[in-house]
Amino acid sequence: MYQIIKPLKILLLIGLLQGCTSVVVDEHKTSVTNSQWQQGEQALVLGRRHSSNYETELSLVSCVADELRSNTPIEVIDELAFINQLYPWFEPRTAPMRLKDMKRLLRNQQIATALQQRNLRYIIWINGNTETTKSSGSIGCAISVGGGGCFGFGSWEKESDYQATIWDLKESKNLGEISADASGTSYMPAVIIPIPLIARVQSNACEAMSQQLTGFFNTGGSDR
């Protein structure tokens, strides 16, 4: 019996292990808001999708939005619902890149009314992506009448690089930028069964960025 439990314990221990990830977060405040966040005001997390060689992942944007919903009193609007309501003004081709473009957009009465109805105060733009930078090793699998299995070792490195820019629409200010860089290596040893030890690179970047944003909003965007 002990002979069966021991390998199971080892497998469980390996399963609980994860690839290592390191995260660096920077915050840069460009201005301080004069008024505190008020009940009913909403925030919106939007991904930048104008770049030709990458796209900010929907999963990252919704992860940050969910974290803000859980950890701040601010109501966070759903990204897709907002983009559809304001179509065609927040498409990759038309979305305002700078605050002065947003101010120009707000001169359009229809857009201004739609945003006022939503009581939207903050727009958080997230730009960046996660990519696999290096991979090595190989795993071979075989199957026969007597059974099957895999043997080998694989590893891959991932890097996340995201920047969040916070606009205060009420005060027409760029409040600041938060950047989160994360990197980590995942491993997959295979002795009969492949055991993935996944580094949660994107999730850790999301958590780090959300924590910083939470601090930002819990102090009402004022200087700390």
Partner: protein
């Protein structure tokens, strides 16, 4: 047989398109969605690529049926070129899909599926005279995702491109020089 059919695929594009939040032009409009446009499909001819058919006619017609009503005071949709242009619409739009291209991550080494579409738009007045003729381009991309098939990714990229077509059409049509001139004449004559 499996090997022969393994590299063939068909993508029937389907998506949801929102109504645009725009100021309509002060004229009654018409939209001609002819059979070629409604049944438009792209067939891959390049033998070095996978044999693929992308059917987007239905979806692009659906997108225009949602977007174009917001561009005019009222809209009449016809499924063929009218024999007689007289009637309520003062300006008819007739779109034609000219070119379709796509790229997969295998080809570009980017983790993106990309789609480019080129349209020609002809605008006729209620006498059947062409008032403007211009090109509208559309671009869409979607990142690769774990457990998402190539067909799903291509469908998403085409839907993004069709949204881009709708955005481009709804925002740039009133800025087409010939149409601005024609609209000014209409306002003066009223």
């Amino acid at each position: 047989m499996t090997l022969l059919t393994g590299c063939e695929s068909t993508v029937e594009v389907s998506g949801n398109y929102p109504k645009p939040l725009i100021q309509p032009m002060p004229v009654d409009g018409g939209l001609i969605l002819d059979e070629d446009f409604r049944n438009y499909s792209f067939f891959e001819q390049d033998k070095r690529r996978w044999s693929r058919t992308i059917t987007l006619g239905n979806s692009q017609a659906e997108m225009l049926r949602t977007v174009v009503p917001s561009m005019f005071t009222s809209l009449e949709v016809r499924e063929s070129m009218p024999a007689n242009f007289s009637g309520k619409p003062q300006l008819w739009l007739h779109p034609t899909a000219l070119e379709f291209q796509y790229a997969t991550p295998r080809e570009t080494r980017l983790k993106l599926f990309e789609v480019w579409i080129k349209y020609q738009i002809k605008a006729y007045d209620n006498q059947g005279q062409i008032q403007a003729d211009w090109i509208v381009t559309a671009y869409g991309k979607t990142p690769t995702a774990f457990l998402r098939s190539e067909e799903e990714a291509l469908n998403l990229a085409v839907v993004v491109a069709l949204r881009d077509f709708g955005a481009n059409l709804s925002l740039t049509t009133p800025k087409v020089a010939e149409l601005q001139q024609w609209l000014a004449q209409q306002t003066q004559s009223e």
